[in-house]
Symmetry: C2
Subunit: 207 residues, 2 copies
């Protein structure tokens, strides 16, 4: 399997290429080049060609990339030529916004369950979902065979929730709580913490 030898930093750029290509598709475009993708993303054309070449020969010298074809290939590589069900843990402001987010559709994911511990939230409705009791989470995740979860609970609860999710069979965690969590090696974690991005920018601002 070629993928096992691809550095994670390369894998991290593929979703950006896919998003750009899908944007071009929406613009009714048919072909593109590594130069154009690069300009949209602020990545060099050479880097893009090198990254893609790890997975096959997708472009043709002189004619560039067929957008639809490259989208199809990238979706296969990233395993989003199917739809992944996801569980959202935490039905506060962030969890609710995630559960209602329309941007997962067509990109390989859908929220299929929302959990909370708050008796006032359990049984309530968020968009298309009825908020379920955290006490049932292990049973429900196993029953549905869900492998991806998003954590939208307070930082102080994130590790505990993560442990429970791992025990339930979750293999990929997107953590919105502003805290690093520990998981076994076989589980992937990514983080969304707006302050990390903000601090990276304010460093460059003059006061």
């Amino acid at each position: 399997m070629v993928e096992n030898f691809t550095p994670d930093i390369v894998i991290g750029r593929l979703p950006l290429y896919l998003r750009s290509l899908q944007q071009m598709e929406k613009e009714k475009r048919h072909t593109t080049s590594s130069q154009e993708i690069g300009e949209r993303l602020g990545i060099s054309a050479a880097q893009i060609r090198k990254d893609l070449s790890q997975f096959g020969e997708f472009g043709k010298q002189g004619t560039g990339y067929d957008i639809n074809n490259l989208i199809m290939e990238l979706r296969k590589i990233l395993k989003v030529d199917r739809v992944w069900d996801m569980a959202v843990v935490g039905a506060g402001d962030i969890g609710s916004a995630i559960a209602r987010y329309q941007g997962f559709a067509d990109r390989g994911y859908r929220v299929s369950m929302v959990f909370d511990v708050d008796p006032e939230k359990i049984g309530g409705r968020i968009g298309a979902f009825i908020v379920e009791d955290m006490d049932k989470i292990e049973e429900r995740i196993k029953e549905k065979g869900i492998e991806i979860a998003m954590i939208a609970v307070p930082a102080a609860k994130a590790q505990e929730v993560s442990d429970l999710l791992v025990k339930s069979g979750i293999k990929a965690l997107l953590n919105y709580a502003p805290i690093s969590i520990n998981v076994p090696d076989i589980v992937k974690v990514q983080y969304i913490d707006p302050v990390i991005h903000l601090q990276r920018m304010t460093f460059y601002l003059s006061i």
Copy 2:
């Protein structure tokens, strides 16, 4: 200025160090080591020492880092020893969740304005804010001297909103719309798109 010669990838790690240290402070801890910070973050101790050494001598051989002191230094370096006002554009689910988010406090930021184009939203309340009319955004941002904005509008509107924000004097943009935007070189952009993180993880999942 030493900062000008520090690679952006190093700057990108400093907020993670700061977050870990602030977590330790909450745990009533007083000293730590590059080993411990590294274990919490999955970064090598050597990398952390090297990154920090670009800004000064913060640790002592044998005794490690004084947590409070290192927090203070990192807050200075990242310019979050002050509070930055921010504008949120878009009062939908995501914009509302951001406007109400309690996690900015104590980390250097506060939302101070929320804008939307929808007449049904303008004048309405989100947490402590009255949603303001996008038509007034340039005037309001200039009046307040705001330099940071978060974009939470549909992808199709993000570039247009970004152009308006840059014209209004915004120097740092956190874009929640799932699309790359073009800004002048002097403006910093960071992105939050959960699907990018999800795709980076599903690559590794077995189907």
